[in-house]
Symmetry: C2
Subunit: 426 residues, 2 copies
């Protein structure tokens, strides 16, 4: 702390440090002004000024009539570094755009203006049928959404009342869910799923939802064992809570048992196509328990009426003629290949270690030394967790660069890491 | 009431009648079970059973720990009648689909896979620039949304806390806004805008938002006078509330003074393209006050990351090459022509009257006799208002049918109305 700084700055810095250290946690109230005037021995105006600084930095927020609170991190991805190990979208060049072009063309040829006609709220009936067949999911409880994030948003609408008090998360977890749901309650994630002892302790409270990515977890890349899936499903049944099964990249693995198969009455299943196709096509599907279907349909309607019918028809044709299946096959090979190359680079550096058995577009690493590197090159562990234990972790995504850039990026990364510490002799 | 019906049914019917009569209003608590056991002289189980009936009919809902409430009407448009005077989307055949096809084709030719690349959260930069030019709106406070309904949904996120207590609506108003915001407070709409005396009375309460469609109002088709716009803007400034200016069809009129022009610091401006293009392309724009921009951007991000980049690029090209402007011209002519034909049909029936100076895709009528007609043929006044004064109103939309169907539909409507009452001699 700078002792020559004005008093209000000293107070602001102190509060900032306490937030960074997790003493004041996101969503928690910070001590009221009158307490701080006492403990710092200053007047109200000084504390007000300190609060003003913290607010303008986006660290705290006012709630009318209730005081100041530590803000949840509301990160929107910023412009990434030249070599982008942050973005978890697919590079556009991996997508068969020529075939996409043909499909759009044929749609207008065959359906004429009808290609642009409205679809029902739940989605294009034939797309629903095709998806039901491919993913063995019941068509009568399915709805089309504009990507997985919208699926989570609909959950937040249907379970609006006090949701942040009654939803559990894996630690670490997807930041988009943390900020949307204002996550407060976490269960540690082990290499095969959640820590069941900790989960059981949490279940003594008022739990209505558990958010999980059991197949290709973000950011860790792990998947649940079947035993842990069964254990989680049993608890959902016994304690009457819903599992949100976010299947955002499960397709990159061979087919697995899903929670929606084990416990359909307590599982809200969300599958994204924004991640396996391209960001230009923002679609996903959702299967919800029968008792909730009408509420989800209405939540979708009041969010954006329905997802673009044209894009739905495109996805339908892309699936029907087998192009999607072929695309996923290519993607699996490509992902595996890049993962291996990145892994063998990482293995040269003794201060980096990766948990085994990861899938998906990223590599989750632990560093045993501080890496003083460009800030936005990759995602840091603290973007996925409030727990200081995850500070030494980083997530490197590797599918957003084209082939030439990826090769250069590996060289760049190697050079950077050499600066941080000596590599193993090759 | 059926005196031979079981007791629980009698109680259910009585409550139903009270809801219909507006004694128990949407969103209001209905008397607790113990009160009803007393007033009906029955036991708890009977009242429970009556509540069960009302719940299964969707008339009431439970809130945990708080009792039973009258539900808000959560209408999702049902399958319309053969002759559809309900749907307010454009018929797909009015849209130049061949030109749409060419634009998609050219996009893939020129941009290749990049046509499907991600866009920033706020939207495609060039689309933003083009829209800013066409609509004279500041690009730095604009974001692209997936239709006007999403714009409203973002408002409900940004102003989440107790929003239904602090938002005013026109009476009547758009049902999608009523159910999304759980509307409770209304200001009567006159032929040139809101009743200012009533508005001023409402402004003594905690008002943060006023939702309005000042140009081509839904369902009445009227527009505000400039004097009323100025008066509303002045109040927003003085009482520090935000106007939500839903400009969903204003383009069908010659350019007018907008609230966003008069009072940009207190106006959230929403413009839909889903209504002027087709439902297959679900896009809109939103301009928000500078102080709120970051919050809206984050609300958009956590709703669905961003609107489809491909559709944004399509709209950009459609605007850039003048096709959109030409399409709107055609639309204006076509709308005017159909309105005139419908109006001269209506004028034959003395029990029907229309307020003058309506624009848009619909005709708002008052009936002086009960029309015993197919239920879903058109929208009834009560879909737009809780006020019994609007029960004798109907809204007929006339742009969702193709030309041949529209002609048949006029004949059908004429025959139906003749059955209801004698027409004027021709």
């Amino acid at each position: 702390m700078n002792s020559k700084a004005p008093l209000y700055q000293v107070i602001a810095d102190t509060i900032k440090e306490r937030i960074a250290a997790g003493i004041y946690k996101p969503g928690e109230k910070i001590p009221p002004i009158r307490c701080l005037t006492e403990s710092f021995g200053v007047n109200k105006a000084t504390v007000h000024k300190a609060f003003g600084c913290l607010k303008s930095e986006g660290l705290i927020e006012n709630r009318v009539g209730s005081g100041s609170y530590v803000r949840f991190p509301e990160k929107i991805q910023t412009t990434p570094h030249l070599f982008d190990f942050r973005t978890d979208y697919l590079n556009e060049h991996f997508f068969p755009y020529r075939q996409a072009q043909s499909i759009f063309n044929e749609l207008f040829e065959k359906e004429k203006a009808h290609a642009l006609a409205p679809t029902p709220v739940e989605g294009d009936p034939e797309l629903l049928r095709v998806l039901s067949g491919r993913y063995h999911l019941p068509v009568e409880r399915m709805l089309i959404i504009s990507g997985a994030q919208q699926g989570l948003d609909l959950v937040s609408k249907v379970f609006a009342a006090k949701i942040s008090e009654s939803i559990l998360f894996e630690n670490p977890t997807y930041p988009g869910a943390i900020s949307l749901f204002r996550a407060r309650h976490f269960v540690p994630l082990e290499e095969d799923g959640p820590d069941l002892t900790e989960l059981d302790q949490r279940l003594t409270g008022p739990v209505r939802l558990f958010y999980t990515m059991p197949s290709v977890h973000n950011p860790t890349g792990i998947s649940y064992s079947n035993a842990k899936k069964e254990a989680l499903a049993r608890r959902a049944r016994e304690h009457s809570f819903y599992i949100i099964e976010d299947d955002y990249l499960g397709e990159l693995k061979p087919p697995e048992l899903r929670l929606v198969d084990i416990e359909p009455r307590h599982t809200i299943h969300i599958k994204s196509f924004a991640q396996t196709t391209l960001a230009g096509i923002r679609l996903g599907l959702m299967v919800v328990p029968e008792a909730l279907y009408a509420q989800f349909l209405f939540a979708k309607f009041s969010s954006d009426i329905t997802s673009s019918g044209l894009l739905q028809k495109f996805l339908r044709e892309f699936l029907k003629n087998g192009l999607y299946a072929r695309h996923i096959e290519t993607l699996r090979r490509k992902t595996l290949n890049r993962r291996r190359r990145l892994q063998s680079l990482i293995e040269q550096f003794p201060f980096l270690s990766a948990t085994p058995e990861q899938f998906g577009y990223s590599l989750w690493l632990k560093t045993s030394i501080a890496l003083n590197l460009p800030h936005e090159l990759w995602c840091r562990g603290e973007e996925f967790s409030f727990d200081p234990a995850y500070k030494p972790f980083i997530r490197l995504t590797f599918m957003h660069m084209d082939d030439a850039t990826f090769i250069q990026a590996l060289d760049y990364l190697h050079a950077l890491l050499v600066r941080c510490g000596t590599p193993h002799p090759l």
